[in-house]
Structure formats: structure tokens, C-alpha cells
């Protein structure tokens, strides 16, 4: 009833190719952005901002990166965490070895380094596919983690192998409060999500999807295989690299190579599977599910800590979490993003069933 596009006409090509063609959608997104940019930094507690929202946004960005590679271009990867590590350590070294380098530039360069490494490890994708490629990217995961542990140069010869972030500022504004850290993260994530959405709709996105759906056919219609696949690896790794840099600098303020182990790669992969493969929104929904649900369960569990043994509660949380993943995958194998889409379609015809 409320969610209906009748009466909204597109009178120009620009209007036709807009991201949000329906006024209600535009209103919703505008409200969401206003909430995220204006209301939350002002009213949100430290805990909400730095304990929940910042990790959620950063891992959404990593999931977005993987979704470009796996969801759009169809190249299965288990190396997302390794590319995050490259971004984090490269940013750290840029800031350490070139004093006075602006934070944003360092993060950008860190992302570029991750993109370069991503391209190198993407080369096998020209010959091998599917699960075999996943194993090849697994090599990246182990190799990169080993490099950062083995060679002291990357960590500035810190005896414990842990690097810590120097004081940060952007355009002269110190990034030291939860609100400023949150706003920095949110701005970067919002911009990059917008870029990803546009890439997915543009020719490059179509080329990726063509390769994903049938690479022989894609090659026949003239899509350059080498360039398109490597571009997918580069852009995906860039996203992961920026996410890694934010994870190290903004969220933790310190990082060691073990923070980006295989578990992290799996975590990012699960985010896109639960959220929706090949969907920008799915990356965010998946990250919310994987990051926020265990926290919510833990918070809920604490309400009962007087009556039930905490040992039992901690394990119960894990069981519930696992159960919910299975539940959602059975109900909607295409992920939470598909559920959202179905909800929108239903809303369109509401109050009628069809």
C-alpha cells in the first residue's frame, strides 16, 4: 500500500539508471544514512559505537570485497584474511617509514598493496577453477601469515610481533574518540559500498557476472578473461586491504598476523554465504548476522547468569548460533538479502497476497 511505485514516472535516462528508482527507497536510504551519520555518533554510547558498530562496518567491508570476487566474478577465495593482513601491515609500514604521511593516503596505499598481492595470487585463476582455486588462495592465506611472522622488518622488529597504531588524524582532526573513529569508518565504508554498487551495475560488473555464469560463453562474446578476472582479484583485495587497515588501526589499535588467520577468512566467507552471494546488501546483512548475533546471544545469556551455570550458557550460545545459521540456510539458501527482496515484493502487493 505504502510501498508502491505507481504514479512515479521516469522522464530521463538519468532517472532510469539511478540506483534507487523508487521514492520510498530513496527516503528509506536517506533516513538510514541520517541515522548512521548524524543520530548515532551523537547519541550512541561508546559501547555501541566501538564495541558493535565499528567491527560490524569493517567486517562488512571485507565481506563486500569477497562478494565482488566470489559473488560477482564467481572466483572462490579462502584468502580474504591474508589480503586484510597485507592492507594492515602495509598501512602500518607506510606510516612508520614515511613520517607525516596522511592516514587516508596510507590506508589507500595499503589497499593498493593488497590489490597487488591479490593479483599475484589471482594468476592461477586463469587456469584453475572452483574448489581448486579455493585451495590455491588457501596457499596465499598460509604464505602471507608466515611472511609477517617470519620477517621482523614488517613489524619493525617488535619482540612480540605485534604492531601498534600511532596517533591518527584526518585533515587535522584527531581520530581518538569512539565517535570520530566511527564516522571515519562509516564514511569509508559508505563510499566504497557506493562504488561497489556502481561497479556491479556497470559493464565491469556485467563482465564479472558473465564469467561467473559461464566463462567459455563470456570469452566467446569478447570479454577479456585475463583482465576481467585479475581486476576482480585486484578490486576485491583492495576492499579487503582497506578493511584490514581499518581493523588494525581503528578497531584494535594494534595487530598481529594471527588476527588474520584462516578463521577470519572463513568468517568472511560465511558472512557472504549467510548474507547473500552476489549482493551488496547481503554483505552487510551477513556481517550483521555473524558479528552481532553472538554478541546479542551473550548479552541475553548474561540475564540468566544467576540461575544457570555460565559454562552451560556459553556453550548454549554457540549451539543457538549454529542452529540459526542452519535455519536461515534452509529457509533461504540465497541468503538474507533474498529474504529482504521477498519482503519488499510482498510489501508491494500488500494487503493482497498476490
Amino acid at each position: 500500500m505504502f510501498y508502491r511505485e505507481s504514479g512515479q514516472f521516469k522522464s530521463s535516462y538519468a532517472a532510469d539508471s539511478a540506483i534507487l528508482t523508487i521514492a520510498q527507497d530513496r527516503l528509506f536510504i536517506a533516513a538510514l544514512l541520517a541515522l548512521a551519520f548524524v543520530v548515532l555518533p551523537g547519541l550512541g554510547s561508546d559501547y555501541l559505537l566501538s564495541g558493535i558498530l565499528i567491527p560490524f562496518l569493517i567486517l562488512s567491508l571485507a565481506a563486500l570485497g569477497l562478494n565482488i570476487l566470489t559473488g560477482y566474478a564467481g572466483q572462490l577465495s579462502l584468502g580474504s584474511a591474508a589480503f586484510m593482513a597485507v592492507g594492515a601491515f602495509a598501512t602500518y609500514n607506510f606510516m612508520l617509514r614515511m613520517p607525516g604521511m596522511p592516514l587516508l593516503l596510507a590506508i589507500f596505499l595499503g589497499g593498493l598493496m593488497a590489490a597487488l598481492v591479490g593479483v599475484a595470487f589471482g594468476l592461477p585463476s586463469l587456469r584453475i577453477k572452483g574448489f581448486y582455486l579455493a585451495v590455491a588462495t588457501l596457499a596465499a592465506q598460509f604464505f602471507i601469515e608466515w611472511v609477517f611472522t617470519k620477517f621482523g622488518w614488517f613489524t619493525n622488529y617488535s619482540s612480540s610481533g605485534v604492531i601498534s597504531a600511532p596517533p591518527m588524524q584526518v585533515f587535522g582532526i584527531a581520530i581518538d574518540t569512539p565517535a570520530s573513529k566511527y564516522l571515519l569508518t562509516l564514511s569509508i565504508v559508505a563510499l566504497m559500498a557506493l562504488a561497489a554498487k556502481n561497479m556491479a551495475r556497470a559493464s565491469i560488473g556485467r563482465a564479472w557476472m558473465a564469467i561467473r555464469d559461464m566463462d567459455v560463453a563470456a570469452e566467446v562474446i569478447g570479454i577479456p578473461m585475463l583482465r576481467t578476472k585479475l581486476l576482480a582479484f585486484a578490486i576485491s583485495s583492495f576492499y579487503c586491504g582497506v578493511a584490514g587497515a581499518l581493523y588494525a588501526f581503528v578497531l584494535l589499535g594494534t595487530v598481529d598476523a594471527q588476527a588474520f588467520d584462516l578463521h577470519r577468512s572463513f568468517q568472511v566467507l560465511f558472512m557472504i554465504i549467510v548474507g547473500g552471494v552476489g549482493s551488496i546488501l547481503g554483505s552487510f546483512l551477513g556481517a550483521a548476522f555473524i558479528v552481532l548475533l553472538p554478541i546479542c546471544l551473550n548479552l541475553l545469556g548474561q540475564a540468566f547468569h544467576d540461575t544457570i551455570s555460565t559454562q552451560f550458557l556459553a556453550n548454549l550460545e554457540m549451539m543457538l548460533f549454529g542452529g540459526l545459521i542452519i535455519f536461515f540456510l534452509i529457509v533461504e539458501p540465497h541468503g538474507l538479502a533474498r529474504l529482504w527482496q521477498i519482503a519488499k515484493e510482498k510489501l508491494r502487493v500488500w494487503p493482497f497476497p498476490h
Partner: protein, 435 residues
């Protein structure tokens, strides 16, 4: 209906507010699931039991009741940060955090400094944090990794009848291929230089389940001793491989991460005779453990699901952690009065701990852990380690408390602190001015 609900919740809020006025809140960032759950459940169980014991026995500290809340970290850095943010301002403010995880401690160090909440890193964490001038809010109480590494070498010196006899001996440092594993290399190198023994570093790739080639290398090298810097599954795997190549287990010395029942039992027969360092002794013979069992478990308020774990290494470590926390609150109350104290005041207490022989007697912990006396400059407060041998069923002490070789550690700490303060562009505290 709605009105009553509002009234009831308002009433509850005021009641909670009043109750909080005389409470001291202690956050418990525990890990009861995940890879390290078996140790975490016992450690935090011991800590909670001690807090409950103090509440039941004395009605809190100086009349101020101790409250706590748990938060599951799963030993993961991001979850740890979430827990830190969740608990730091709750119920009148957190007293101090003990994450039992080096990674989470690193990740919360800057935040803690800003929020003025101390971090206890008992036995682990940054070794250079014992310099309180650079790390005002970090307390590697009792022993750091570096102190323990020097104690290990001194223990070997005792075994061969004096440090001078170490000259020409061959020692292998078998370490976990991670940041944690590599941390003691510079200290051991310095010790090798000082005492003239030959030192060979051999890396075991993480997680350390596969050690065949490393132990063949050790067999070829024929070292007199192997120092084990292991973690988790690496310990039993090392012991089993040592058995296979016939290396005597009594010549293997691990640090405290390899010194719990879980580590030894998993290796079965191969663990017999193996030696590990310890900063908190196991067993039920200590009066404090017996009192906890009597008072807390007697009233059915114990935290462990299985009473059989009382007195295990990890449980006793947790109790010691609780004791140090409570003693810090006591010390702080002496200065600031018996009321709810904030993190910075507890920090003062932790900086002025003095658990001497007499106090240990009162607490019923004589010989359970070494005496602790901290200061503004010295956040470690002890540096003693004792070595234990696994007899197939239990850990048995095979040495007295061995002091860290500060001649080796202090210059390294100074160098590390200088680098840290330069990287962070910060100024060191002036301890003399802070009396």
C-alpha cells in the same frame, strides 16, 4: 498496566542504583568456549570463586561488596574489545581487566590508558610493560615471559651444578612459529652470551601438531636440554615426538603455558618426567583453596561445574588472579577510603601492592605464589618462577622460586620501552614526582 510497568521498572532502577553505591565492580572477560576453553573455564572459575569467597567470608572488601559480570571473549581480539567496551563503565566502573590473552591485552592497551582502567597481565603480555613509567595501566604481575625465560636458564644452571657449568653446553629453543613463540629469542640470546652456552633456535610452524622433522634435527644436534616455548596442542605433540626420538623428557623445560594438567595428560606416558615453569602452584593443600571449597562450594555457590577441578593449575592461577585483584582494592581503599573506587584508584592500589610473607600467611597462600611488591616503576613486583615436574599424575616442585636475571632483562626492557615511547611519541612518567 503500562503505568505499573513503568513504576516497577523505575523502582527497580532506583533499587539497583542504591545497591550499586557500595559495590566494587570486577569485569570477568572469560573464555568458556573455543580452542582454549578448558583452561579458561577453570581460570575464571577460580577467580569468581575467590571473589565470592571474599563476599561470603568478609562481606566484601572493607564492607564494599564485590560484584562481577562475565562476558565471553572466545579468546578472540575483536570479541575481547567488545567485552572491554561493554563492561568498562558498568555498575560504577570496572576495577581492572584480566583477559588472559596477550592479543586482547594489546588491543585494549590504548583504550585502557585513556579510560584509566588497569589491565592485569599476570604471567603473559608485553614483557616491557613491567616498566610502569611507560605503561601506567598495564601490570604483568608476578612474572613476564622474559623473566621466565631467564629463570628457565638459571634452573638449567642449578641442574648442572652452577651457572659456570653451562659453558659449552648445548641448548635448543624449540618455539611456536608465532609472535608469541619468538618473543623470548632476544632474552635467550643474551643469556647464551652471558653464560657461554650454545643456543640453537628451532621453529615449529603453528599450531605445532607436526614436529617430526624438528625432533630429528634435535636428535642430530644432541643438545643437553630443550627449552620448550609451546602453546596449546604443541606441548603434547612435542612430548610425544621427543619420546619417539628418545630424548629424555626430564631435559625438556617449558614455560607456564605448557604447565597445566591438560598439556601433560594429553601426552599420556610421554609426559612423565617433563618439567614446566609455574607462577602459581597447583594442589589443594593451601588453606585458601580449602577455605574456598568449604565456604563457597559448601554453600552450593561454586562456579565450577565439576568440583574435581579445584586445585588444578589453571584453577589456582585464577584464584591467585582474584587474590591480587582483591589485594589491590584493599591497598587502594587504604588510601582512598572504603567506598566504590574507580579504575585509576585501583591502579594506585596495584602499584602499591605489598604481599609479604606475613600477608601470605594471613591469606593462606604461603608458597602458592611468590611475594609481590610493586611500585610505580616496577609493575611486575616479583619475577620469580618455580619449576614443576610431571610425575604421570601430578605436578611436583623440583626447584625453589628462581628470580629473574634482571641484569639481562632490564637493558632489554629499557631498549624496548625507548622504542615504544618514540613510536608513540610519548613522555615517560616521572615516578619520583608522584609520591
Amino acid at each position: 498496566m503500562k503505568k505499573t510497568a513503568v513504576a516497577v521498572s523505575l523502582a527497580l532502577l532506583t533499587v539497583a542504583g542504591v545497591a550499586q553505591a557500595a559495590d566494587q565492580f570486577i569485569p570477568i572477560p572469560s573464555y568458556r568456549v573455543g580452542a582454549y576453553a578448558s583452561g579458561g573455564a577453570k581460570f575464571y572459575g577460580g577467580m569468581i570463586d575467590y571473589l565470592n569467597y571474599v563476599n561470603m567470608k568478609e562481606g566484601g572488601v572493607g564492607g564494599v561488596k564485590l560484584t562481577y559480570e562475565e562476558c565471553e571473549t572466545e579468546y578472540k581480539n575483536d570479541r575481547g574489545v567488545e567485552c572491554y567496551e561493554r563492561l568498562k563503565a558498568k555498575n560504577g566502573g570496572a576495577s581492572a581487566f584480566n583477559f588472559m590473552s596477550t592479543g586482547i591485552t594489546y588491543a585494549t592497551m590504548d583504550r585502557a590508558e585513556k579510560d584509566k582502567i588497569p589491565l592485569m597481565t599476570m604471567g603473559f603480555g608485553r614483557a616491557d610493560a613491567q616498566d610502569g613509567r611507560a605503561f601506567k595501566y598495564v601490570f604483568p604481575l608476578i612474572t613476564s615471559y622474559w623473566s621466565q625465560a631467564t629463570a628457565k636458564v638459571q634452573f638449567l644452571g642449578q641442574r648442572v651444578g652452577g651457572m659456570q657449568n653451562l659453558k659449552g653446553k648445548k641448548i635448543v629453543n624449540l618455539y611456536h612459529g608465532s609472535a608469541y613463540g619468538k618473543e623470548t629469542i632476544p632474552v635467550l640470546d643474551a643469556m647464551a652470551k652471558k653464560y657461554g652456552f650454545e643456543l640453537q633456535h628451532i621453529e615449529v610452524p603453528a599450531p605445532g601438531t607436526e614436529q617430526q622433522s624438528q625432533w630429528l634435527e634435535i636428535r642430530r644436534a644432541r643438545p643437553d636440554f630443550v627449552l620448550l616455548r609451546s602453546w596449546g596442542v604443541m606441548t603434547p605433540a612435542a612430548l610425544k615426538s621427543a619420546q619417539k626420538v628418545g630424548f629424555p623428557r626430564e631435559n625438556i623445560v617449558a614455560n607456564w603455558w605448557g604447565g597445566s594438567e591438560e598439556d601433560a595428560i594429553a601426552a599420556g606416558d610421554a609426559a612423565k618426567g617433563y618439567i614446566a615453569g609455574s607462577f602459581a602452584l597447583d594442589g589443594r593443600q593451601f588453606p585458601v583453596i580449602q577455605n574456598i571449597e568449604k565456604t563457597v562450594y559448601g554453600a552450593g555457590k561454586g562456579n565450577l561445574s565439576d568440583k574435581g577441578f579445584i586445585g588444578t593449575v589453571n584453577y589456582n592461577r585464577g584464584v591467585v588472579s582474584g587474590i591480587l585483584m582483591v589485594e589491590a582494592i584493599r591497598a587502594a581503599q587504604k588510601k582512598y577510603g572504603a567506598k566504590t573506587l574507580n579504575g585509576d584508584q585501583i591502579r594506585w592500589g596495584m602499584e602499591n601492592l605489598n604481599i609479604d610473607a606475613k600477608r601470605q600467611q594471613e591469606l593462606g597462600v604461603t608458597d602458592m605464589f611468590p611475594q609481590v611488591k610493586t611500585s610505580c616503576q616496577n609493575h611486575e613486583g616479583s619475577g620469580y618462577t618455580r619449576f614443576m615436574q610431571w610425575d604421570g599424575k601430578d605436578w611436583k616442585p623440583v626447584s625453589g622460586w628462581i628470580k629473574a636475571d634482571t641484569g639481562v632483562t632490564l637493558p632489554l626492557i629499557k631498549a624496548s620501552v625507548d622504542k615504544y615511547s618514540q613510536e608513540k611519541s610519548m613522555k615517560l612518567r616521572d615516578c619520583a614526582a608522584e609520591k
